[in-house]
Symmetry: C2
């Protein structure tokens, strides 16, 4: 099972089909790597084939694609999903359908679609030919920043709030790394659903600006990690229900400290490990508080739900929140494809305030 | 919830009733403490009241009671269940019914019963008056060592194997602290059910003797923690199914190392923390292997199942295994009540090879 999970079969199959198809197809500009390593060194802009067009195919003119941390790790060779090399970088992205095969039913020319990011399709390219089941239609009218970044972070936040505890309006969630992409989406989705959030962030220059920014998104409480033992935090905890859910994308001491606040029988879900430290769980929380400790990986969820409608349903709901303004796209810095090196370099900076977005139809 | 769990209401109520009853009853020798602290200092042998006899009462002549680590922690004041003081020490134990109240139906004079250990009844005494629901009948014919120690360790092992994963014959379980009381019971119950066990122990003098002892109980594999990266361990793991369940009573590095062997979507259950270190979980195990990390506390399970028949059913099954010889009582050192100080002193030694058992009808 572990081996299949790390190297999913469909990944190989699709790579194999791509290989066959490439022999017959046109070349378009793509950002390609032939070996794993430092993304600033191994990536190059070159013409790559789009794949052959068949009856189940969907031809896409790509509009935009973000540079996500997982994309960087994938190029470095440290991510659990590994495409076969050479590969086009990127996983998430939005495109416009230019042509569909005779068997395709769910989308048609002119539709906007997002790639199912778990499939290692390679989104950093100008054109792409995929299979119908590898894309999801999104409503028209979404700004390109929102459309290009909807599949990973907002969907992760959505699932974290849906799948682990039965959260009702008035219930509480606590999270660390609250200013991460997922964290900010989670604040907004929780606010829309009436779920209160206690948001833990690291101290930094102009931390009050970040606090205001998160509160503006709907965060009920924002606390600096150094203040978790403060009387202010005690007052916050007195005023709310004990959190049923704790969300961790940091690990180490940060995750350990969340257990002080997680209610009995509550669940901590880890979806990231920014500190590169393991998750440390007090023995007493497990034995006497009966807490559950779990993990979540959006890619695996998407693989597990390839054949049902749950991803499409979620996408509809998340896009509707984006259209209503309940959820905002992350602040993005746009880069034309030719400037991809600047974009990558920016994406590699810690504490970057914006998501780097490659504009693919410039 | 946390506060109720730490100081269960029934505990206070039963203590209050005991207080009232004591005013009318006979005194018998008991091991009592009036304040928390070093068990070698705060315990004394004195005459204490048995409680008043009513229509739902069961009068017991106590036969034997073990000194468990939780009893020691309870006296030290560090355990999650705290009786009101002064209190009689001990929680687990076996007695013979001498008289029952007019409303009592499930037991009668001459029956052997065990105390429901989660109720803080105080088992280190010669006589005890309890309520019908505070005891469970056991079959006659069990040796006193087995009867006195059946309620906590074998029942914990039974639940660990039953409640977290659907284990079938041929499935595998890995555990650390495999020579603990629970660990040894687990080896035997798993063997009786056809479940394979990989047992991790710490290195020590005469470690081969311990290995033989555990294998003699039915352990399929016994590995010293220092050898977990050895080729021998790799061969073992190749020859068995990936463990669905990992059981941890140690914490720290020892628990961390079990995640290397736990199968995808498997569960680690922590039921003890002998190293006094927290449980450390690799982030990748949570996110990419989708493992679950949980805790188990026999006392809480018993509280949660006070009103159903599941504890009686389990007791019947465990006692039947003891009678058939599929499960053996732990090696015990017997102490007459008057020598309780020696017994306590022995129980405080690390690496003790036997369980200290107070004989109460000497």
């Amino acid at each position: 099972m572990a081996v299949r999970l790390l190297q999913p079969r469909f990944g190989r199959k699709s790579a194999y089909l791509s290989y066959i198809w490439r022999k017959f197809t046109t070349k378009f500009e793509s950002i390609v790597y032939s070996e794993h390593g430092d993304p600033e060194k191994v990536l190059r802009l070159q013409k790559a084939e789009t794949g052959k067009f068949g009856p189940s195919s969907v031809s896409l003119r790509m509009l935009a694609a973000p540079i996500n941390p997982a994309d960087i790790n994938q190029i470095q060779g440290t991510y659990a999903l590994k495409p076969s090399l050479p590969a086009v970088g990127g996983n998430e992205g939005v495109g416009e359908v230019t042509e569909v095969g005779s068997d395709v039913q769910s989308v048609r020319a002119g539709d906007q679609v997002v790639l199912r990011a778990e499939q290692c399709l390679g989104s950093w390219c100008r054109h792409l030919v995929v299979l119908e089941h590898q894309v999801l239609k999104i409503p028209s009218g979404l700004p390109v920043d929102a459309a290009a970044t909807v599949s990973v972070n907002p969907c992760t936040a959505f699932r974290l709030l849906k799948d682990f505890e039965d959260l009702q309006p008035g219930d509480t969630v606590i999270q660390n790394g609250a200013n991460s992409g997922v964290g900010q989406a989670l604040i907004q989705i929780a606010a829309a659903w009436g779920i209160k959030t206690v948001n833990v962030i690291r101290n930094r220059t102009n931390v009050e600006d970040l606090k205001s920014h998160l509160k503006d998104q709907g965060a009920n409480y924002v606390v600096i990690d150094e203040d978790l033992k403060s009387s202010e935090m005690k007052e916050i905890m007195k005023s709310i229900k004990p959190p049923k859910l704790a969300l961790n994308c940091v690990g180490g001491k940060s995750s350990m400290s969340l257990f002080r606040f997680l209610g009995p029988k509550g669940t901590m879900v880890t979806y990231g490990g920014m500190s590169k430290q393991p998750v440390t769980v007090p023995t007493g929380s497990l034995i006497f508080q009966d807490v559950n400790v779990k993990g979540f990986w959006m890619s695996q969820w998407s693989i597990d739900h390839q054949k049902d409608a749950s991803k499409a349903t979620m996408m509809e709901e998340v896009c509707s929140m984006l259209l209503k303004g309940q959820l905002r796209a992350p602040p993005c810095t746009r880069h034309p494809l030719k400037d991809f090196k600047t974009a990558i370099s920016e994406a590699l900076q810690p504490y970057s305030k914006t998501k780097q977005l490659l504009i693919l139809n410039d």
